[in-house]
């Protein structure tokens, strides 16, 4: 748990010198006005507004952060009750403290966001925000793991994504990413779930059982330790990080364009959405917009990917419960969706299709025909699966009321996406803050009551239909004409014909490959609705070719942290059913 500085051996030379202009977000005046309003509401001397940001931003004194969070959450008008993100940023040798801890909250009532920044240092612990937002539990652990920022009062502040033998803190600017740390079996952390209640008169002994990390029912490398009383779970704990590859550090050591293939590997069931989200975030920073044709293709493929994501989730969830037939019926259309993706960009699972400023290549000539055929085919598969599931008494009784989470608890844990909508909260980024033209399409947000496994399945089934609705409308409108990438030699590579034949284009080509895209100095947050909730990218740019910091807000991370509480009191088989319905993708969870 120590933070030995001898492993922080990389000489850090400070931000690269740059003559780039600072980033000016669109609609700045409205944001700054909102910023003033919020500050008037909080009315505290320890909160300083930072104008000129893309969200209302405040610097808060370290000791007072919990008070401010509580005020923002409990104020009847502001109601910032959904914890979106908490992460660190490292600015070595900065006088007011080396680290930034950045909080982001969302208000469902006002469809509004706020960002809080706390300056701190290695030896200055930040008060833990767990009493206000339980959803920051793992986020604080991650900030500790990656930066060594301490949180006072956190009940379990240990490493989360890296292992016990890992030395140093990976996301510090002076951490050398080439170092390797070996974890041997004897050093693996022993996890003992906390048992809150073990009935005295139980006929059974307490047994502790390890599920995973490589268990067929965990669909990825998740480790769940459960304490059992007979078949009933009386205590549970989860351990993650088995698929950790430090996406965020890799992003810092590569150029903006080179990060796109890494984003594929976050939620690999709906990789195009990750590509799109990241590209849009960088485009926002650059102040450019991709041409309509590119946006259209991005939207169509995002919706197909959302359907594929839900298909996989439902299929594997019911597969764990023994319903193999549905698995086949649902996987077949998914295969054809991947075929469409492959026809566009040449790879199925990891498409790397978008580029900053547009797409890598235009869609094939028969793109719309393929999409049309798919949209026609999909409903029958979904209907078949729905019939087989929702009229099946065994299925219904196995999922009804299982793995339930209340609306308040879901919000407090930072749930987004289908898992939040299953508790009755109609929050969807596509409606709340429309991007790539979602506001021009007519679709509904399905919500269900109960927040249990059945509700999540129902929401996903209906969401696929809504996606199909969007696709129908999109296909009717047809592909807009025009290029698929911006005509800006500082962002997009010039066409190959020109590179081969013209000196000027060749120079731009060389410049762009060697020096990369250099966005203005500043930071921005952009969120898209991923398959599993709000997928956000917070990008900090120092004007150089590599991002200074890329933070991805993984929806699974927030969703999975409540899992250990959800399964207490259930049987093991129910825990498996619950896990499947949460749709935890390890690639995104562990990054």
């Amino acid at each position: 748990m120590s933070t030995p500085t001898r492993f922080s051996s990389m000489p850090y030379t400070g931000p690269a010198p740059t003559n780039r202009k600072p980033f000016v977000p669109a609609g700045l005046e409205a944001i700054d006005k909102r910023c003033d309003e919020i500050q008037a509401k909080i009315a505290a001397p320890y909160v300083t507004a930072v104008p000129g940001q893309d969200l209302p931003t405040f610097v808060v004194e370290r000791e007072k952060i919990v008070d401010v969070l509580r005020k923002l959450k409990e104020d009847t008008e502001l109601r910032f009750e959904l914890p979106i993100d908490l992460f660190g940023v490292d600015y070595p040798r900065r006088p007011e403290g080396r680290f930034d801890v950045v909080y982001q909250l969302y208000s469902i009532k006002n469809n509004d966001r706020v960002r809080l920044v706390v300056h701190t240092d290695e030896d200055k612990p930040v008060p833990s925000s767990l009493p206000v937002f339980q959803g920051f539990d793992w986020f604080e652990r991650e900030a500790f793991d990656m930066y060594g920022i301490r949180f006072d009062g956190h009940y379990n502040l240990r490493r989360i994504l890296t292992h016990e033998m890992f030395q140093g803190h990976a996301l510090r600017k002076d951490y050398d990413p080439a170092q390797r740390w070996l974890l041997t079996e004897k050093d693996v952390a022993k996890i003992v779930p906390v048992v809150e209640h073990h009935p005295e008169d139980s006929d059974f002994e307490q047994v502790t059982l390890n599920l995973g990390p490589s268990h067929p029912a965990t669909h990825g490398t998740l480790r769940i330790v459960v304490t059992l009383d007979g078949e009933k779970i009386i205590g549970a704990d989860t351990e993650i990080g088995y698929l950790h590859r430090c996406f965020e550090k890799m992003a810092e050591t590569h150029t903006y364009q080179q990060v796109i293939p890494f984003t594929d590997r976050l939620n690999y069931c709906s990789a195009i959405i990750n590509n799109v989200g990241y590209s849009l975030a960088v485009e926002k920073l650059l102040g450019i917009e991709a041409p309509p044709r590119a946006q259209y293709i991005r939207l169509v493929l995002s919706e197909f990917m959302r359907i594929a994501d839900h298909l996989v989730c439902i299929a594997t969830n019911v597969l764990d419960m023994g319903a193999l037939t549905n698995f086949w019926y649902l996987y077949q259309p998914r295969e054809e969706i991947y075929q469409l993706v492959e026809a566009c960009c040449g790879a199925r699972l990891l498409p790397t299709y978008t580029r900053i400023g547009g797409l890598s290549v235009d869609a094939p000539a028969n793109f719309l025909d393929m999409a049309k055929a798919l949209v026609k085919k999909l409903p029958s598969h979904i209907n078949d699966a729905e019939k087989l599931l929702l009229r099946n008494r065994i299925f219904l009784e196995r999922v009804d009321g299982i793995g339930a989470i209340t609306r308040e608890s879901a919000i407090n844990h930072g749930y987004t996406g289908p898992c939040l909508r299953a508790t009755g909260v109609p929050y969807d980024v596509r409606k709340a803050k429309p991007y790539i033209g979602y506001d021009t399409y007519d679709f509904d947000i399905p919500v269900a009551e109960g927040g249990d496994t059945l509700a999540r399945t129902l929401v996903r089934l209906e969401e696929m239909r809504q996606s199909l609705r969007i696709l129908h409308q999109a296909i009717e409108r047809g592909l807009p004409a025009g290029p698929v990438i911006v005509d800006d030699p500082y962002v997009a590579l010039p066409p190959k014909e020109k590179v081969y034949n013209e000196m000027e284009s060749l120079i731009y080509h060389f410049k762009l490959i060697m020096h990369g895209i250099q966005p203005p100095v500043g930071e921005t947050y952009f969120a898209v609705e991923g398959g599993n909730g709000e997928l956000g990218y917070h990008i900090v740019s120092d004007g150089s070719k590599n991002p200074y910091r890329v933070r991805v807000r993984p929806p699974c991370f927030a969703v999975y942290q409540a899992f250990r509480k959800m399964i207490v009191g259930q049987t093991i088989a129910d825990a498996i059913a619950t896990l499947g319905s949460l749709n935890i993708i390890a690639g995104e969870l562990d990054r």
Binding site: N392, R393, I394, F443
Partner: protein
Amino acid sequence: MGVIKIERRKQSFMERLYIPETVKGMFVTLRHLIHNLLNYKDLPIINYPEVKRVYSERFRGRHILTSREDGTTRCVACYMCSTACPAECITIEAGEDDRTREKFPTRYEIDLLRCVYCGYCVDACPEDAIYMTRDYELAIDTRARSVVGLRDLVVPPNMPTEPMGWRPYYGEIRKEGTAGGTGRGQEIRAAAFGDEAAPNPELYKGEARPKSEADSRQGA
């Protein structure tokens, strides 16, 4: 804002009885079975490896280095591809031709285990020198063999375009239509590449190409 609330349906009496619904469910399965038996040809199953999937002409598979008409490799060892590569898996060493003053690679290695098949090297090349093929069967038995060098990568000039995948067509599409792929299975690889002749594995192997002047110059 359109929000639809999904109500839970109460199970009807018949559903609670379970057996009738099971029988109905069996009919769904039966319908699929009969449909599949009647449309055997359209089954989504591919009998790999006898039958191979046809990928589109954008498929990002194993790389090749193309050659000029005179048999020399197009690559001029400009390091653009290795700079653009996010996986840092391309190693190039440059040499210079004494007679033509041309730069050329004396060593060009791609570690196929590190490669993420993103196609950035193809996009970055200013010389039309590196392409990706539709070859996706890259199984190897030792780690060392994952590193492929000039010998494996360079192909003779005038190679048929059918086996090729991702090529530098940024901004402009070369072929109309399906982009080549049907997603269906087709027997043997040659057919998959749209030509009836038996597959020519030599196409992918450096050894097969006739020894040209360029070889002796490069000392390969």
